[in-house]
């Protein structure tokens, strides 16, 4: 493997930015945002430089590594602070720093009226650094540091306006649910060490062939728990909707383009484990399929533009997870969808931010309408992202999503048919709710509040949106031209049981997909464009809509099954600690005290009674001796 000594700058630059801004305090208020943006941009520059170096090397020499220092060495448990940049991580590095820099630029304007803007940029830089560590770490434990680091950054950013109690609660909820996932990652690392004696990616890959399938399945399932927590996959998905409490650029960067895709990265990175554990793989596919539908269904009922987009993100990551669960044929497509999704979803979130910016931070789409004329640039960029997520050729989503649907059908048998149909229906529902978002926001009649004065956002905001829109248009074509991404990632995955012929011709799959999308669009068109839309959410809706509005009861479920019993347990334990455990201690004291006061009654102060007691005692003693002796 190629040894590099410049990888560390990728992480060090944004980390330094965060440190300077946080430690510098108010002194850095004036130029903090510029520094943070510069740090992110220069990290992107380093990433491009690394890509060039990588392209210069022959295929087998492309992965580069760097050992920084000895981190934890105890007995056989040896983990160094080491970085690994290979064909997979460079994709993420460029996505993170590229989209990250655009969002830094956007935020300069978006957050310009916030007096804590410096702190916001510090958190953004902290996030970039942690996320880079996550994708660059050369072992599961190093990944874990980045994994929790992004969790922390996400917590800080969701709760950026934590003076509002609901936002503070949302950030706590995100962190705690992520911790449940992190626990899965801990388990995976522990099992890996106990069974294989190593936790580095290279080491685990080498040991896979010597390890039993049961252990690998356990590791795989635990990695899936971790992935579910971070990527908002079923059953740990409930935090993502609330995470929209954060400023919109955060939703674009963390909760759409980068952090939430870390689960897909983890599964793809651990391809060697999953390839050897078919059961775990099957569970991954199932989780992906469930989440895909789950997110899509929630998306249909949300009136909050950000929550609708968040549900969409959940659903799209479901697609990626599903693809990653399909094994070597799917990894590259999962990553491709991840990259294209990074462009179009970040673009749409920024668009939503731009709309909110013009509408006094209103997020209810029922209060929008007819914004096309007032925000033409936002409309166009958002529209391009819309076409991309729908999968209309030749936009990005067409390439990446169709490949996933094809691969799903290729799984063969009943599994293939179920997965294929699920992905097709998902595509249709996606078309429905995204069309709904477009219609409610940009067309139709004005349903604004009286004090709304919509206007186009300044160039610092629309420029990143435009760049992302270009990505939404072109990235799919570029990545799939001549199977570019597939070939690029090819050396990383095990291709021993390939290559099979497509079961259904790609052109037929595309036709089916486009038909489903057309149905979704048509339904939305007739429901929302041809009828008057009320500016308040109608109450007389079907039970399904009501359930979907409540996020399919996910919070109710968590409350009923975990929170309430947990609170009851806590209350009981506190009472029991006072009454039983401490009660036993105080009980011993009480016994001593009360026996003392009982005996105290004998001490009545009357000499004669003392004398009588002495007498009785003496007689009893003599009698006792008498009995014993005779």
């Amino acid at each position: 493997m190629f040894i590099s000594n410049t990888l560390v700058y990728l992480i060090a630059l944004p980390l330094a930015g965060a440190a300077i801004l946080l430690l510098g305090g108010r002194r850095t208020n004036k130029w903090g945002h510029l520094l943070a943006t510069a740090m992110s941009a220069s990290s992107f520059g380093v990433g491009l430089y690394q890509l060039m170096l990588m392209l210069d090397r022959p295929t087998e020499q492309r992965p580069a590594s760097q050992k920084l220092f000895e981190w934890i060495h105890v007995g056989e448990f040896k983990v160094d602070a080491g970085l690994l940049l290979d064909q997979l991580s460079i994709c993420f590095v460029l996505l993170i720093t590229g989209v990250g820099t655009l969002i830094h630029i956007y935020s300069i304007s978006y957050m310009s009226h916030d007096k804590d803007r410096r702190r916001f940029f510090a958190y953004l830089n902290l996030f970039i650094a942690s996320m880079l560590l996550l994708v660059l770490g050369d072992s599961y434990l190093n990944l874990y540091v980045g994994w929790e680091g992004v969790g922390l950054a996400s917590y800080l950013l969701i709760g950026f306006w934590n003076q509002k109690p609901a936002y503070a609660t949302a950030s706590k909820k995100a962190f705690v649910m992520n911790r449940v996932g992190d626990m899965g990652l801990s388990f995976a690392i522990m099992i890996a060490f106990a069974t294989m004696g190593t936790v580095s990616f290279v080491g685990v890959q080498e040991q896979v062939s010597q390890t039993s399938e049961a252990a690998l399945t356990a590791i795989g399932l635990m990695l899936l728990v971790a992935a579910a927590g971070k990527s908002a996959q079923f059953p740990l998905q409930a935090w993502l909707g609330d995470a929209m409490a954060g400023p919109t650029p955060v939703s674009a960067l963390i909760h759409a383009a980068t952090m939430v895709t870390a689960g897909v990265y983890l599964i793809t990175r651990s391809n060697f484990v999953f390839d050897a554990a078919p059961t775990a793989q099957l569970v991954v596919v199932i989780v992906g399929a469930i989440t895909l539908m789950f997110g899509a269904l929630i998306g249909t009922a949300k009136d909050d533009i950000k929550k609708a987009l968040a549900a969409s993100t959940m659903s799209q990551i479901g697609y990626m997870t599903l693809a990653a669960g399909l094994g070597p044929v799917g990894y590259a497509f999962a990553i491709m969808h991840l990259l294209t999704h990074g462009f179009f979803k970040a673009g749409m979130f920024l668009g939503a931010g731009s709309v909110m910016h013009g509408m006094n931070d209103e997020v209810n789409m029922r209060k929008y309408g007819a914004l096309r004329k007032f925000m033409p640039i936002t409309f166009v960029t958002f529209g391009l992202g819309y076409l991309a997520i729908l999968g209309i050729p030749p936009f990005a989503g067409f390439y990446s999503k169709d490949l996933i649907i094809e691969t799903a059908f290729d799984a063969g048998g009943a599994k293939g048919i179920i997965l294929g149909i699920t992905t097709l229906i998902g595509a249709s529902i996606t078309a429905f709710y995204m069309t709904r978002v477009m219609i409610l926001t940009f067309t139709g009649t004005k349903r604004w509040d009286e004090d709304a004065h919509p206007h186009e956002s300044p160039w610092l905001m629309w420029l990143p949106m435009a760049i992302l829109a270009i990505g939404s248009v072109s990235s799919g074509y570029l990545l799939s031209r001549g199977d570019a991404l597939e070939n690029w990632l090819y050396p990383l995955f095990d291709h021993s049981d390939e290559y099979q012929k497509h079961l259904i011709e790609p052109i037929i799959v595309s036709g089916m997909a486009l038909t489903m999308v057309a149905i979704g669009v048509a339904v939305a068109y007739f429901k929302y464009a041809r009828q008057e839309v009320s500016s308040t959410a109608p109450e007389d809706v079907s039970i399904f809509t009501k359930v979907a509005r409540q996020d399919l009861m996910q919070d109710r479920f968590n409350e009923a099954v975990f929170m309430r019993p947990g609170q009851a347990l806590t209350t009981t334990l506190i009472a029991a600690d006072q009454a039983v455990v401490d009660g036993a201690v105080r009980g011993v004291g009480q016994v001593a005290l009360s026996s003392g006061s009982a005996l105290r009654g004998l001490q009545n102060g009357y000499v004669r009674s003392y004398a009588a007691i002495i007498l009785v005692g003496a007689i009893a003693l003599i009698a006792a001796i008498w009995v014993v002796v005779s």
């Binding site: 102060g605 009357y606 004669r608 004398a611």
Partner: protein, 99 residues
């Protein structure tokens, strides 16, 4: 004469003394009853000395007398002091040390 008769007397005296200590209130009487018990013990000691044919018991009896004398000195002084302060020689009145 059978030496055990002396022991019976001694036991009788001791019992009288003990009962006196327990039932009487007047400190002086209690005191005298204690003296009675001591002397009952002395009588036993002397009797045993006689039975055993050595002087150990008599020596012990002298010790007892000395101790009794000391006790009288201290005890009477206390009783007088209590009487002066409380105008009473009843032992039941001097129950300040209870509890």
């Amino acid at each position: 004469m059978d030496a055990s008769n002396y022991l019976y007397i001694s036991a009788l005296l001791f019992t009288i003394g003990a009962v006196g200590v327990v039932v009487r209130r007047n400190a002086i009487v209690v005191f005298m009853c204690i003296e009675l018990m001591l002397n009952a013990a002395n009588l036993s000691l002397v009797t045993f000395s006689r039975i055993n044919g050595d002087l150990d018991g008599q020596v012990m009896a002298f010790f007892t007398m000395v101790v009794a004398a000391c006790e009288v000195v201290v005890g009477l002084a206390i009783i007088v002091a209590i009487y002066r302060s409380r105008r009473s020689a009843s032992v039941d009145d001097a129950s300040l040390l209870k509890r």
